[in-house]
């Protein structure tokens, strides 16, 4: 199911949190709403679900205007950041909740819930209570509960934010694969650009209630439309007054073309090495090198170098 947003506007009191946001989310895509906190991304997600009313504009699902349709009639799967488990119900009953509401007969309900629990790998935990589950298990339970009503749209609010690093990266891959398998139109909200680039096939970058840029992750990364997007999507550094990604500039020997500078620090972060340099005007920039490049270059603190954009960067531009 496709989602279309037309001029969605929302005020909280006198604060404008969404300013005429319009977007077309294609059927079957996984779109990440990416932005800093306060950018309005979670509010936008809640508006799609019908949990928050809007002050202007329309929301359409597959061409049907649902702006005034309550959440319970939208057939939308929604997962909160805290997963909002029904604490007094077992895992099985949590997942069965939506089916019970739809008056699905007991035997069929049993079958469908078992199938969902298999899908999210929670079969052995059917009789447990949410408090007995780990964070990752709770998240998968919330996902199964949302999928039970066979929603046409899946909305995930910061789905990985509450998990520790390792579980998070596992679940990202898992959710990504599950979404592809089911082909369900999905929007996820995140403030983590790495997560958005890894999981989504489409980025919508929000800032202060406005869309800054929409596009495929690679495209947006390489061709940021605004200074905000460039700065938000990855590290930047300035060289001679121009903003670059730190891997777009390189070091050369004194006498070659480039800005003359000297190395003031070398920071090793495992695979990545950052060389911080200071030019004659006193402004600093940093160059991102791979471990291999750094070994070949063997930059020492105090050494004189030149800094220049990489040749291949110009080909892309």
């Amino acid at each position: 199911m496709s989602i279309s947003l037309n001029g969605v506007t929302k005020y909280f009191g006198s604060d404008l949190v969404l300013n005429e946001v319009s977007d077309e989310v294609p059927q079957g895509s996984l779109t990440a709403l990416l932005g800093p906190s306060g950018s309005g991304k979670s509010t936008l997600l809640r508006i799609v679900a019908g949990l928050t009313s809007l002050d202007g504009g329309h929301v359409e699902l597959s061409g049907r205007d649902v702006t005034d349709v309550p959440p319970r009639d939208r057939r939308i799967g929604f997962c909160f950041q805290d997963y909002a488990p029904f604490r007094h119900l077992s895992v099985f009953d949590n997942v069965a909740y939506g089916l019970k509401v739809q008056r699905v007969p007991r035997a069929q309900r049993r079958r469908e819930v078992d199938e969902l629990l298999r899908l999210v790998r929670l079969e052995p935990f059917a009789d447990r209570y949410p408090r007995q589950l780990s964070g990752g298990q709770r998240q998968r339970m919330a996902l199964a509960r949302a999928l039970a009503i066979r929603p046409e749209v899946l909305l995930l609010d910061e789905p990985f934010a509450a998990l520790d690093a390792q579980v998070r990266s596992e679940l990202r891959t898992w959710v990504r694969n599950l979404q592809r398998e089911l082909g369900i139109t999905t929007i996820l909200v995140t403030h983590d650009q790495g997560e958005a680039m890894e999981v989504a096939d489409r980025l919508v970058i929000l800032n202060e209630g406005r869309i800054e840029q929409v596009g495929a992750p690679d495209h947006v990364y390489d061709h940021p439309a605004t200074a905000f997007v460039r700065g938000f999507l990855g590290p930047t550094t300035t060289l001679d007054g121009v903003t670059w990604r730190p891997h777009e500039i390189e070091l050369g020997s004194p006498g070659e073309t480039g800005v003359a500078a000297h190395v003031i620090d070398v920071i090793r972060l495992g695979f990545e090495v950052r060389v911080v340099v200071k030019d004659h005007s006193g402004s600093t920039s940093w160059v991102q090198l791979t471990h291999e490049q750094s070994r070949r270059l063997d930059a020492q603190v105090g050494e004189a170098v030149v800094v220049r954009p990489r040749a291949e960067v110009f080909e892309v531009l």
Binding site: L51, R72, D73, F78, A84, F86, R87, V101, Q102
Partner: protein, 270 residues
């Protein structure tokens, strides 16, 4: 575990003993001083039994009313906050701060047959003061915030994400209230009910003013006990006091169970 200092133990035990232990022992000793037979006969005193029944009747009406009000007002204050609900939140506490005598007087002045509002009611043939409705009102008034004070903090901690999730799963507001909200706050409500019940059963001052304290007609158990002591019928008073004390113990038992369950609940809320 290390024992508390000797002085602390002696101090605490003496304090509790002087305040609670000795008077309670005296109460039971007095009630049973004439033996079981006399106690049994006194239990069947007609005036006391009518008083006990009236207290039960008042509790049966006032407690459910306050539970309905308490849960409703809690939902309003927590889920739909506004400037008005902030004022409401403070106002609910007034009955706890005001002396029960004042509560009784205000009710009497308002609802008595020549009172502010009572004249209109008596024109309709309704009698509030010196009658059961007045006792119910006084009891409900003094125990007004006891349910909401338990429910409001829990509702705040639980948040509304479970309810909103249920709505995306297709549940109607009524269904969400019954299957999610009420289930989440059940033990807090029960805790509030026991507090309300204890207060309603034990209330003296406010009820004394509005009821007129007419034996057999508008005399609750606490009033009956008081009347017996005043009329030099102290033995009957002691027996009534024992009945009241045992009712309180029963309420306390339920309360401690509810408390335990609620603590377990809040553990997995954390």
């Amino acid at each position: 575990m290390k024992r508390p200092p000797l002085l602390l133990r002696i101090g605490v035990l003496c304090y509790v003993g002087v305040l609670v232990g000795v008077p309670l022992a005296f109460l039971f000793q007095q009630a049973f001083r004439r033996g079981w037979g006399a106690f049994w006969t006194a239990l069947h005193d007609h005036t006391m039994d009518s008083a006990l029944i009236l207290t039960a009747k008042v509790a049966v009406v006032a407690v459910p009313l306050n539970v309905l009000f308490g849960v409703g007002v809690s939902l309003w204050i927590v889920r739909h906050p506004s400037r008005f609900t902030r004022i409401l939140d403070r106002l609910i506490d007034v009955p706890l701060a005001v002396s029960p005598i004042i509560v009784g007087l205000i009710l009497e002045l308002t609802y008595a047959q020549n009172g502010w509002f009572g004249s209109a009611l008596s024109a309709l043939g309704w009698r509030v003061i010196f009658s059961t409705p007045g006792i119910v009102m006084a009891s409900a008034f003094v125990s007004l915030p006891l349910v909401s004070r338990q429910v409001i903090p829990l509702l705040r901690v639980i948040g509304d994400h479970q309810e909103q999730t249920a709505s995306t799963l297709g549940a109607s507001p009524v269904r969400i209230f019954c299957t999610i909200t009420l289930r989440s706050i059940a033990w807090a409500v029960i805790y509030g009910v026991t507090l309300t019940l204890a207060r309603v059963i034990g209330e003296y001052g406010a009820v004394l003013v509005v009821s007129g304290n007419i034996a057999v007609v508008t005399q609750t158990l606490t009033l009956n006990i008081g009347a017996n002591f005043e009329n030099y019928n102290s033995y009957q008073g002691f027996v009534g006091a024992v009945v009241l004390a045992l009712m309180s113990v029963a309420v306390l038992l339920v309360l401690s169970i509810a408390r335990q369950r609620e603590r377990r609940r809040s553990e997995y809320l954390a």
